[in-house]
């Protein structure tokens, strides 16, 4: 079994939550980086200030200075830079001066000396729980070329910067998590709220029972996005209603149509049995019954055919059919009957061909033709006209005769529909012929229509044509 797709709320919440998290994390990262950069710049500025002060002091040193004096000068040179530590050594590595308590020897040994302190040339190291940013700078003792080269190692403690960054990062994390949670909750609420119209529609749908198929959803009362759903649902309901109505009409019709012959059979048999009769009379009853059975059997098989058509079970076996030749064959078949009714048969138009099921097409044409002959007054003529309309083939079967009123003609293809309610059942079929013709034409992807004027009644079928 295929898995059910994830719920819409979950999908939306997860994707929106992910986007918000990514945005917040990126934002936090950028802020953190820029703060960090700012701190580095600050440190570099401080280090440069220290170096400047030291170089100045170095340049103004008297040549023979007492060590105590030297220390004092250097200590004073950088007053105001509490965090700064430094160490000055000669080229051979001998320490000239170092900030008391500082421990810059190791860094001075391993770090690559640089010409200038910039953001890119400072380094970081740790020592006894303190973190330092600093650099090793080579410079001449008095600023003049050729003088003794000195190595100045400067560093500034950045623990408080790091603490600040750390707490900022924690803060950011809390904010991110909180914001994500809030955003996800808000999304979920919004989605849930957004689905309220769907639930309302669903409630409305649930209320529609099989006896209320006429009820429709109100497409104007739903949000734009759901209009299509409502319209589609209404469309489905309409199709269902139609089929449902047709089915119940159909079973009603069947019951009605069978009631008459069964009543006849029953009455006839009961009356026949009510007293002793001679063989001839019994035989008469049986014959009469046989005719009634025949009619019922024929009606049943016609109804089965229509039921198959309704269930899309008619599968035409397609062969090339020359409709004109078919019509001539039918003329031949119905010829004697038409002649007896003094009805002429005429054929007009070019040879046209279709792909179709020969038996079915013959049956459809036969139903239309026999219908036309039946309603043509003596002396009239039925005309079958063939024509081509773009890729389609048109066959019209026209007969003169009393017009069929407009209110009847719209129902003419309905099963059991008989315009004249009082028309006799006998010899006229069960009123299924035109319905069968329609089913056949539609199973072939064609259309059937009927029209009636004071002069003539025309049944026309339009079928996809093919080369002859």
């Amino acid at each position: 079994m295929e898995r059910r797709p994830a719920s819409l709320a979950v999908r939306l919440t997860v994707s929106i939550g992910a986007v918000i998290t990514v945005v917040l994390l990126t934002f936090g990262w950028i802020v953190e980086r820029s703060i960090n950069n700012h701190f580095i710049q600050q440190d570099v500025d401080e280090l440069n200030a220290v170096v400047q002060a030291l170089t100045h002091t170095l340049a103004t040193l008297p040549t023979n200075i007492a060590p105590a004096e030297l220390s004092e000068r250097f200590a004073n040179a950088i007053s105001g830079h509490h965090n700064a530590e430094y160490r000055i050594s000669s080229e051979d590595g001998a320490q000239i001066y170092a900030t008391p308590g500082s421990n810059l020897d190791r860094f001075a040994r391993i770090a690559q000396p640089v010409e200038k302190i910039t953001v890119d040339t400072v380094g970081i190291w740790k020592d006894h729980g303190q973190t330092f940013r600093g650099a090793v700078l080579r410079t001449s003792s008095d600023g003049s070329p050729g003088a003794d080269m000195l190595t100045i190692t400067v560093a500034t403690g950045i623990n408080f910067h790091l603490h600040y960054l750390e707490s900022f990062r924690n803060y950011l994390r809390i904010i991110t998590v909180a914001a994500c949670l809030i955003a996800i909750l808000a999304t979920w609420l919004a989605v849930h709220q957004g689905h309220a119209p769907i639930r309302r529609i669903s409630r409305e749908m649930r209320r529609i029972r099989s006896d209320q198929l006429h009820v429709r959803l109100e497409p104007d009362a739903v949000p734009t996005e759901l209009v299509e759903l409502a319209t589609s649902f209404n469309g489905m309901l309409e199709r269902l209603e139609n089929v449902f109505r047709r089915l119940s009409d159909f079973s009603g019709d069947i019951a009605h149509e069978l009631r008459t012959p069964i009543t006849n059979l029953k009455t006839q048999t009961e009356v026949a049995l009510s007293q002793a009769r001679n063989v001839e009379q019994y035989r008469e009853v049986l014959y009469s019954n046989l005719e009634e059975y025949e009619r019922m059997a024929k009606m049943l098989s016609d109804m089965l055919f229509l039921a198959q058509a309704d269930n899309k079970l008619l599968k035409p076996e397609l062969v090339e059919i020359d409709l004109e030749a078919e019509m001539r064959m039918l003329f031949d078949y119905f010829g004697a009957w038409a002649e007896e009714r003094e009805v002429g048969l005429e054929l007009v138009g070019p040879q046209v061909c279709i792909l179709g099921d020969r038996l079915m097409i013959r049956r459809a044409l036969s139903n239309l033709l026999s219908n036309a002959i039946r309603y043509t007054p003596a002396g009239g003529a039925v005309t079958a006209t063939f024509g081509v309309e773009s890729t389609n083939v048109r066959v019209s079967i026209q007969n003169p005769g009393p017009p069929i009123p407009a209110e009847h003609i719209v129902h003419i293809f309905e099963r059991f529909y008989r315009p004249d309610a009082s028309r006799k059942r006998s010899g006229e079929g069960a009123g299924l012929g035109l319905a069968i013709a329609k089913s056949i034409v539609e199973a072939h992807g064609g259309k059937i229509s009927a029209g009636s004027t004071a002069k003539a009644t025309v049944f026309a079928i339009l079928l996809p044509g093919t080369e002859c």
Binding site: Y287, L290, E291, Y293, E294, A297, K298, L300, S301, L304, F305, Q308, L313, K315, E317, M329, D332, Y333, F334, A336, W337, E340, L359, R362, R363, S366, N367, S370, I373, R374, G427, E428, G429, G433
Partner: protein, 227 residues
């Protein structure tokens, strides 16, 4: 001629058997698929009438078993469903013809006779004669009491069918199918009109009458029949 009827519906089975027996056949009736299967494979029949909707062993299996056993006994199957698949399936399995329920007994009888005749060597007679009616098949001419009768093509075809199957009741649907290739029922009385016209030409002015109406069933060509 010995026939086997396999039909589980009691009344249908009884009446089909009675009807066939009264038409001159020897009939065995199997009321279950199992009996039918057994009889079909062990007995010697000229034709089997088989209902396909049987509760135990269905008709398809019987046909298949029969054909697997290289038996060429003609099989006419009866189906309640008028579906193309059923028909195609039956004919593919080796059945020879089918009838859809409800069927007319006259139709069943006509089909049975057609199938039985199929096994015989076709009679290529140039001339058919019944009483004083003579049909010249190649020239498509008919004469009665030595008087030439003008018939249209279809009238001749109709007459030939009746003569070839004299003594049999031919249902209207069978006539429509054989003469005009119309394989469906029509609401019209086309066949009656055609017969009436044929009668006017070959029967009205002559004795004895040869074409007889069998009420509720169809038409029969016979010399000795009395309406």
């Amino acid at each position: 001629m010995k026939l086997l009827v396999v039909e589980d519906e009691a009344k249908t089975g009884d009446y089909v058997r009675q009807g066939l027996m009264e038409s001159g056949f020897v009939v065995d009736l199997a009321r279950t698929g199992l009996d039918g299967h057994h009889l079909a494979l062990t007995g010697s029949y000229d034709l089997i009438v088989l209902d396909v909707m049987l509760p135990d062993v269905d008709g398809w299996r019987i046909v298949r078993a029969l054909r697997d056993a290289k038996s060429s006994t003609p099989v006419l199957f009866l189906t309640a469903r008028d579906s193309v698949e059923d028909r195609v399936k039956g004919l593919e399995l080796g059945a020879d013809d089918y009838l859809v329920k409800p069927f007319a007994f006259s139709e069943l009888l006509a089909r049975v006779r057609t199938l039985l005749r199929r096994g015989l060597a076709p009679a290529f007679q140039d001339q058919l004669q019944v009483a004083d009616l003579v049909l010249d098949i190649p020239r498509r001419r008919a004469q009665r009491q030595n008087v030439r009768i003008n018939l249209t093509n279809k009238e001749f075809a109709l007459l030939e069918l009746l003569v070839r199957r004299q003594g049999e009741v031919l249902p209207r649907s069978l006539i429509a199918s054989q003469v005009w290739d119309m394989n469906f029922d029509s609401d019209t009385n086309v066949i009656d009109v055609a017969i009436r016209r044929l009668r006017a030409k070959i029967d009205d002015d002559y004795e004895p009458k040869l074409i007889h109406t069998v009420r509720g069933m169809g038409y029969m060509f016979d010399v000795t029949h009395t309406d």
